[in-house]
């Protein structure tokens, strides 16, 4: 157990490798109740949310969710969040545990100018469990009346799980099919046990922070604090696809337009080590013994069994096939830029 953003959480239950492989081949269950929830509601909720995120919230249907950036005026990340449209004028943003207070304060302040919309930090109202892996649907279906086959990726539905009131969303942080299940905190343990019981035949196992990180890295999903933060822009971090350029205006838009016109100086890429060695967070990317970039996330991952990493490199070296070196504790080891994601599930 380790402290994580104010919570006491398990790194692993039975081993990072076993848990990672369980999610890739069967299913694993994560307790991610540390994530925060900020709700925005009111007559002008759409305009309020649209002001603070870079995606177009007005295009979301009720029941639909989207991954997006909560941006600073400089186009960098206050946080990366999932926005859920709960009702026409009611949104929920699911935020990183370490950023919840910051996000809430930022949103509450920034939407004042919109008026007729209010933000609430409702994190204490929700526990969140994530069931991830190809067997997720067959494990969860017996526990709920929600027809999971009708739930498309990034859509959610209200219902119940193991007789506990629940919101089920077809989302996750693993690169596999799966469901994130919001329940009242006092129901969490019961729902957890029910899912593990239902998953017994499929050998579903509990999974911790270690596997959560190796899984998301193979899928090239960004980790706030590692790959993105208040010093990295949406464009440099390779997340331009979240930006709705057509949207009227949003915090950060002007900076991003300017950056797009100027061109990027650096960009986040995927690296695969070609020499032996594992690139890790903070290791310099070098060329001719000069530091030209930095590794933001990296490890040897259980499924791919390769040393992979995300790193910022100069834009000129961003093309897949480019050769760079990573300084691994004093020794320059060769790596190659590869396309992202490292792993994509077969559908």
């Amino acid at each position: 157990m380790v402290p994580y953003a104010g919570w006491d959480m398990p790194v692993e239950y039975s081993g990072i490798t076993a848990e990672h492989m369980a999610v890739r081949t069967r299913a694993g269950l994560f307790d991610v109740s540390h994530m925060g929830q900020i709700e925005v509601a009111g007559k002008n909720a759409v305009a309020a949310v649209d002001r603070v995120v870079c995606s177009d919230a007005s295009l979301l249907k009720v029941g639909q969710a989207k991954y997006t950036g909560l941006l600073t005026p400089g186009g960098t990340f206050v946080d990366d969040v999932l926005v859920y449209r709960m009702a026409p004028s009611h949104f929920m943003l699911v935020a990183n545990a370490s950023n919840v207070k910051k996000d809430y304060a930022w949103i509450a302040e920034q939407i004042k100018v919109v008026g007729d919309a209010a933000a609430v930090d409702s994190s204490s109202r929700y526990a969140l469990l994530a069931l991830q892996g190809p067997a997720s649907r067959e494990v969860l279906q017996p526990l709920t009346g929600v027809e999971l086959g009708d739930l498309r990726p990034y859509w959610f539905a209200n219902g119940e799980v193991a007789n506990a009131r629940a919101t089920i969303s077809r989302t996750g942080y693993s690169g596999e099919d799966g469901f994130e299940i919001f329940v009242p905190p006092n129901m969490a343990e019961r729902v957890w046990q029910a899912i593990l019981e239902s998953g017994r035949a499929a050998d579903v196992i509990p999974c911790g922070l270690g596997a959560r990180d190796t899984l998301r890295l193979e899928a090239a999903m960004r980790l706030y604090g590692n790959d993105i933060d208040e010093s990295t822009t949406v464009l440099e971090s390779g997340l331009e696809w979240t930006v709705s350029w057509d949207k009227q205006d949003f915090i950060g838009r002007d900076s991003l337009v300017e950056e797009r016109e100027r061109g990027l100086t650096r960009t986040l890429v995927g690296l695969e080590m070609t020499d032996r060695g594992i690139a890790r967070h903070g290791y310099p990317v070098v060329s001719d013994q000069r530091q030209i970039g930095v590794v933001t996330s990296g490890t040897q991952t259980p499924y791919l069994k390769k040393a992979i990493a995300l790193a910022y490199v100069p834009a000129a070296l961003a093309a897949p096939g480019s050769e760079v070196e990573v300084d691994i504790r004093g020794r320059a080891s060769r790596a190659r830029v590869v396309p992202l994601p490292f792993y994509k599930r077969s559908r």
Binding site: V11, E12, I16, T17, G277, R280, T299, Q300, R329
Partner: protein, 125 residues
């Protein structure tokens, strides 16, 4: 897992098995449990001389890197070839998986070594 009595142990959780003028070095069960699944072991070149307490390589798991410190001084005469393709044997059989074999030199300097009972007490705390 009981700690074999034919090994000596360091506070950095390495073990050493001395046989005449050579010795095998590895890491303990406690160390492998702390590390988690080992994915990579970096070992010195054969012929290199290492001094007691010196870092002679590193061992990496999915989540962390740890340095390996020499319990005694000597010349590296062999490194375990199995570790390149099967680093996980460190997890499954820590006290049977040697990493380097050294020829002990005359130097009296050595890291303070513990016997199995003393080491067991150390890791129980």
């Amino acid at each position: 897992m009981a700690y074999p009595t034919d090994l000596q142990y360091t506070k950095d959780h390495e073990w050493i098995r001395v046989t005449g003028d050579t010795a095998d070095i590895g890491i303990t069960d406690y160390a492998q449990r702390q590390l988690g699944d080992v994915v990579f072991v970096e070992l010195p070149e054969v012929g290199r001389t290492i001094t007691a307490g010196e870092s002679f390589g590193s061992i990496e798991s999915v989540k962390a890197v740890s340095e390996l410190f020499a319990p005694m001084a000597g010349e590296v005469v062999a490194v375990n070839p199995q570790l390149k393709d099967h680093p996980e044997s460190v997890n499954s059989a820590p006290h049977d998986t040697w990493m380097v074999k050294i020829r002990l030199n005359d130097s009296a300097a050595r890291e303070s070594l513990m016997d199995a009972a003393a080491y067991e007490t150390l890791v129980k705390e």
